[in-house]
């Protein structure tokens, strides 16, 4: 089918490519330049300052804390958003009476804005709030915490809220993938005598490779670039205890140090690229194709 392959003309890529290059790549490259300057709304002249910004960033202790928090957060959310999302999708792919309603309910948190997250969860997570009262009610008072004001656990709390919000979103992508799996495979496996768990491992997971990859990559990128959840729940506080890279970028911009903020943005970009692109490359090789 060599002839056929050639027929897939790049013509179809052109509209997307033009829009993308003009309205995204072009400004992004221009913006990159500011990483190497002392750009600020308070200075009229923008001076090139080489690697000064990057030196400052890597010597700053808040950056180190932010990197640590970002990594902790990313690892937790990648694991739990996917595990929960996948389990929900499989469960809600079964013939339940209320499955449409339940799907909508689990998806709903990802629709609401972060303002809601902050407004509703800050009181729930208050030391005398709903969560601690609930724990006390079922005799687990000792598990009660200062969820958002204890510097040691605050980043875990934020990760928890983020899982609450986004598990249903990943569920939807898994569901889309599950629709692509023909029932024939399951029928055949049933005849072979494979039980539900075996069918899940040997049929569902491999055939779900596209959604699995998509979800892993999306949650990883979302995890490293996390902003709104932290911003809405603690704004990086108490002190800098829950500062992550994106919120720290906002702090630098807020201080009027735009060059520095742009530089940290560049660092964040490179950081995500280094983690995500090799992973993506590896996963794409393992995708099952039809």
């Amino acid at each position: 089918m060599k002839n056929g392959i050639r027929l897939y003309s790049y013509r179809l890529v052109i509209p997307a490519l033009i829009l993308y290059c003009v309205f995204f790549i072009l400004p992004t490259i221009t913006g990159l330049y500011y990483s190497f300057t002392d750009w600020s709304p308070m200075n009229d002249a923008i001076l090139f300052n080489g690697l000064d910004n990057f030196r400052y960033i890597f010597q700053n202790e808040v950056t180190r804390l932010a990197i640590k928090n970002t990594l902790i957060y990313a690892v937790i959310v990648v694991i739990f958003k996917n595990a929960l999302g996948l389990l929900l999708a499989v469960a809600l792919n079964a013939g339940l009476k209320t499955r449409n309603l339940l799907r909508a309910v689990f998806f709903a948190p990802s629709i609401v804005s972060t303002i809601v997250i902050g407004l509703v969860f800050i009181p729930i997570l208050h030391p005398e709030g709903l969560l601690n009262r609930l724990l006390a009610g079922i005799g687990l008072e000792s598990l009660g915490q200062y969820w958002l004001s204890d510097a040691k656990i605050v980043i875990f709390t934020i990760a928890g809220v983020s899982i609450w919000q986004w598990a249903g979103y990943h569920m939807v992508i898994y569901l889309a993938g599950l629709q692509g799996i023909s029932n024939d495979y399951y029928e055949a496996a049933k005849i072979d005598g494979a039980n539900g768990f075996k069918r899940f491992i040997h049929i569902t997971i491999p055939l779900l490779s596209a959604s699995l990859n998509i979800n892993l990559i999306l949650s990883l990128i979302g995890g490293i670039r996390v902003f709104s959840e932290v911003y809405a729940l603690t704004n990086g506080g108490p002190g800098n205890a829950s500062q992550v890279l994106s919120t720290f970028i906002l702090v630098l911009f807020g201080e009027g140090r735009w060059g520095l903020g742009t530089a940290l943005n560049t660092v964040l970009f490179v950081f995500v690229a280094i983690v995500a692109i090799p992973l993506l490359h590896k996963m794409r090789k393992q995708e099952v194709e039809v």
Partner: protein, 448 residues
Amino acid sequence: MNGWKRAARQTAIGLATLALLAGCASNASTNGGANPAEGGSKNEGAQGEKVTITMEAGQAMKENYPYAFNQANLDEFEKQTGIKVDVVIDPDNQVKNVLQTKLTTGETPDLIVYNKVSAENELNSSQNMLDLSNEPWVDRLSNPDMLKAPDGKIYGFVMQSPLDALAVVYNKAIFREMGLSVPKSYDEFLAVCDAIKKAGITPIFGPFKDQWTFQIWPSGAFGYVAEVEKPGLWDQINSGKLKFADVPEFEDILSKGLQLIEKGYIPKSALSDDYNMAPDVFSKKKAAMMIMGDWFITDMATKDPSLELGLFPIPAFNGKELMISQSQIGGMVHIPKNAKHPEEAKKFIDFISQKEQMDRAQAEQPFMPSVKDASEPKLTPLQQEIYDTYIKTNKATVEMNAFMKVDLTELWKYYQDMIAGGKTPKEVLQAWDQKFAELMRAAKQPGF
């Protein structure tokens, strides 16, 4: 290859369509602005083409200083001059970024309403705003010095003279029932707190999850030190000659604030409490006091009219006459240099400085006028109290924040660290000295 040519042609057509759409879109926007639903005959006498100018501000600005936004005045201005004023309100957490971006790219509104010192530091008034020092209304100001930037020029106009108060807000009913009187010193304050605590009520509600709340205590008291005890203090600090950690009063003030938490007068959960919870806490009488400002009393008057709230100066000292603290001049109307209609914008400022407009805005929300020839204001009881007790008798100082040239958020985070037990007051000031120098260097201030 034929395919490529075709693709190129299609793309060209596509882009042409986009350009066309763009043309329509921009036409639509100008037309939309010029054709408000209004009887044409009224304006026929005015200058042929109708102009729309934009006035941009953050939400807090419109909430706290609604005077320049008075709708009746805007309508009257349009009627008299044919110039329509469109008001653009940005979210508080975005407004700084939005305006800085607009000033940088030159896509500015015609009027910007912003606090005076904040505008100098964040929007670079001397660089970005028109010099209004020679406008006709300057001579009619009752205190022109109040509006002058450090370079001696005037970059904006305000309708009101300051009447705000950063202070301790307290529940008058609780004080009355317990037979307590307003404390005149830190020691008396501790005694009051102790009595309230023994009665089973939280003495002070501390919404310290919000970074801007605890700072009211030190910022107010630091301002007192600099104004009453050590004149010239801010100049020394801003020129790098003196460090925060070298002012013993500052450390003492922070320690006193911290003590309120250590003694249990402010609950341990303070770092989990935020300002949103305050109305509920006060309305249910769960707490008796809060270190806050007059705006909370005004807000509660509509939310829960049965509540009797009052205020007294921040009692961070012993053996001194206490004074209330005031913030920088708020709600100043500026004209950016890149404004598309600077003349119309100037006309608008002159218009709102006139007696009729001052009076009209007064009718909606009373304030102390900034110009000499306005009518005597009818203040609210709270405003009258602040004016009579503190302003007229010179018992008001200006908080530290009005004198700073850099963003203070980092200092406020150190305060949170201190409350959590991570830093001592001394360490807070030392850490801030370091950060302060760094920010001053980044802002290219001499001496650092």
